[in-house]
């Protein structure tokens, strides 16, 4: 059986530069797939290819075995939803109107949302736990609440895959955790697949600690350099090569007997001077 989402040998280039070189991976239902890599490595470009917003010049993105290059925008939207890194707010729409926009791919060009669409949007708000905010202008919400609205809007699309581009990038410590908890809950409850670009390796360990079996991929210099289980991918060695930093993975026992795994940064590696390289850790 074809995987839910498959990225097959995808290459993308701008006129001046190759951004992605033969990227391949696939995602199954109920999986959290985390994409890590330094700033400017092409994470967002890859996500844009998966959303059908950019066209790869080689390779294909397939959903349930069919290539999205042959699908229309509404067909893609029914399969893949999107939570942006930072949503540019313009007009003070009410929260419920924003979430209702998740239904766009089901509503005809000259139609307006039906009662059923409203009910689905309300359910999405409820699943994310922000029903209380539905009549507020979304411009007045905090960053974390605003991001939850974006997650609810993606849920209203009823798609089997949600793509998230650094969904916690601008959030404070607490709200970051709220978003991650919401993702864990949704994946466990609905069997949704989540593809998430992130700068924080500990997000992957967080998902593992919560028992959702994440996978991670490292993207550097146009290619995926490592892909697999967190313990294989997010090693001290790999992160050292990816970010030029020294790190240490630590395990600690929780009060309830569980194990908590985290990775902590120690220092940057100055490659010019030598001497301070990985072997010396």
């Amino acid at each position: 059986m074809a995987p839910l989402l498959e990225v097959r040998e995808v290459s993308f280039k701008y006129p001046q530069a190759l951004i992605l070189n033969r990227i391949s991976f696939s995602i199954d239902p109920g999986e959290v797939f985390c994409l890590l890599g330094p700033n400017g490595c092409g994470k967002t470009t890859l996500l844009d290819c998966i959303l059908g917003w950019l066209k790869p010049y080689e390779g294909q993105v397939l959903i349930n075995g069919s290539p999205i290059s042959r699908m229309s925008a509404p067909q893609i939207a029914r399969q893949v939803a999107y939570v942006p890194q930072m949503h540019q707010k313009t007009f003070p729409y009410l929260v419920r109107d924003i979430v209702l926009m998740g239904r766009a791919s089901f509503i005809g060009p000259f139609d307006v949302p039906s009662e059923e669409d409203v009910a689905i949007a309300e359910k999405a708000l409820d699943m994310v736990g922000i029903s209380r905010l539905k009549d507020r202008p979304y411009t007045q919400l905090s960053g974390g609440e605003g991001q939850l609205v974006m997650v609810a809007r993606a849920l209203a699309q009823n798609s089997p895959v949600i793509v998230m581009d650094e969904p916690t990038a601008h959030l404070d410590y607490g709200h970051e955790l709220v978003i991650l908890e919401t993702v864990v809950e949704l994946v466990k409850q609905t069997g949704l697949a989540v593809l998430m670009a992130t700068h924080v390796p500990n997000h992957v360990y967080y998902f593992e600690n919560q028992g959702v079996k994440p996978r991670a991929a490292l993207l550097k210099n146009t290619q995926i350099t490592s892909l697999g289980k967190p313990s294989e991918v997010l090693s001290e060695q790999n992160l050292g090569e990816l970010y030029n930093i020294r790190t240490r993975i630590i395990n600690c026992a929780l009060d309830d007997g569980g194990q908590l795994k985290q990775i902590v940064p120690i220092s940057t590696i100055n490659t010019n001077k030598g001497g301070n390289s990985l072997e010396n850790i």
Partner: protein
């Protein structure tokens, strides 16, 4: 409800207003017998004033005001910018130049309408083509295209004014640019009404999608909209409505910028409601302003001047009263 009824009420009131006094019974009588195609037993002078002069002018005013406001609201959503008005893609500048050209070349009303309309459309087509240097039509490139095209047509308009005969052509151009409904006849409504109705109907039909488009191109795409096609429909409809309005009325500023904001304060930002309400408010506003223009002084004050003088303070009052509407 009140918002829907308002344009009809002000049209009725404007039939009573003017320097030739007509009482309401006479007006209702004339309307009654004309609308039911019965013979009228009222003096001809009253029938002419009410049915042939005031009524077409009020109807045309309502349509023009509604069209400018509805396209302004649609463009504000499309461009994700509350400071945008119906002229953003150069339709007014194009129409202004077209009208001036027709005045100089032909001295004919029919030619002025045609040229104003066609050059208005041409300006938008040019802006749209400029924006397509990349794939798709990025909003910023559309705005830039509009700025370029507007300034070129403004320069051409200045050139036309410079070359025009200062005794008769130049005043005609200047007066046209200030906007007026004084020459309104039923034939104007019939001809210019077609593009206006098509544009307005299109915008009302697609109004919910303007919400989605206002999320930005990438998000609108990921929500399931073909961004290029939907943007194209909104631009085409708003342009038809605006060009149809401008070609019969001349340049009337302010309505396309401020009426949508008054709508936002009254009913919120959901385009499902805002788009039709903007039409209604624009229609009401322009008919009222035109009534003032007719009665304030001995001769008529051009509409474009009055819309700004009356609209500005009213807008400030609303801003204060509604505390800005959640911006």
């Amino acid at each position: 409800m009140l918002v829907i009824a308002a344009p009809f009420l002000v049209i009725l009131v404007s039939l009573l207003i003017g320097r030739y006094p007509v009482d309401i019974a006479t007006v209702l009588n004339i309307l009654g017998c004309r609308l039911t195609m019965q013979p009228c037993y009222i003096e001809d002078i009253y029938q002419t004033v009410v049915w042939d002069i005031r009524l077409p002018r009020a109807i045309l005013g309502a349509m023009v005001g509604g069209c400018l406001a509805i396209s302004g609201a649609a463009f504000q959503g499309l461009f994700r910018n509350p400071l945008v008005s119906s002229g953003i893609l150069g339709v007014s500048s194009g129409a202004g130049f077209g009208a001036a050209l027709a005045i100089i070349l032909f001295h004919q009303v029919a030619a002025i309408y045609t040229f104003a309309f066609l050059f208005g459309i041409l300006a938008v087509v040019l802006s749209y083509m400029i924006s397509r240097v990349y794939n798709g039509t990025p909003t910023i490139m559309l705005v830039l295209g509009g700025v370029i095209v507007s300034s070129v047509f403004s320069a051409l308009l200045s050139l036309a004014k410079y070359l025009a005969d200062p005794t008769n052509e130049l005043p005609a151009i200047v007066f046209w640019l200030m906007g007026s409904l004084a020459s309104a006849r039923y034939s104007d409504i019939m001809i210019a009404g077609i593009p206006m109705l098509i544009g307005v109907a299109g915008l009302i039909l697609i109004r919910w999608r303007i919400n989605v488009l206002s999320m930005g191109d990438r998000e609108a795409h990921s929500l399931g909209l073909n961004v290029t096609i939907n943007k194209g429909i909104v631009i085409a409809c708003a342009t038809l409505a605006t060009a149809g309005a401008v070609c019969v009325s001349g340049i009337i500023g302010w309505v396309g910028l401020v009426i949508p904001h008054i709508g936002r304060m009254l009913v919120g930002n959901d385009n499902r409601i805002l788009i039709p309400v903007s039409f209604s408010l624009g229609a009401t506003f322009l008919v009222i302003v035109d009534d003032f223009g007719r009665i304030l002084t001995g001769s008529e004050i051009p509409l474009g001047i009055l819309t700004a003088i009356l609209g500005g303070p009213f807008f400030v009052y609303l801003l204060k009263k509604t505390k800005g509407g959640g911006w």
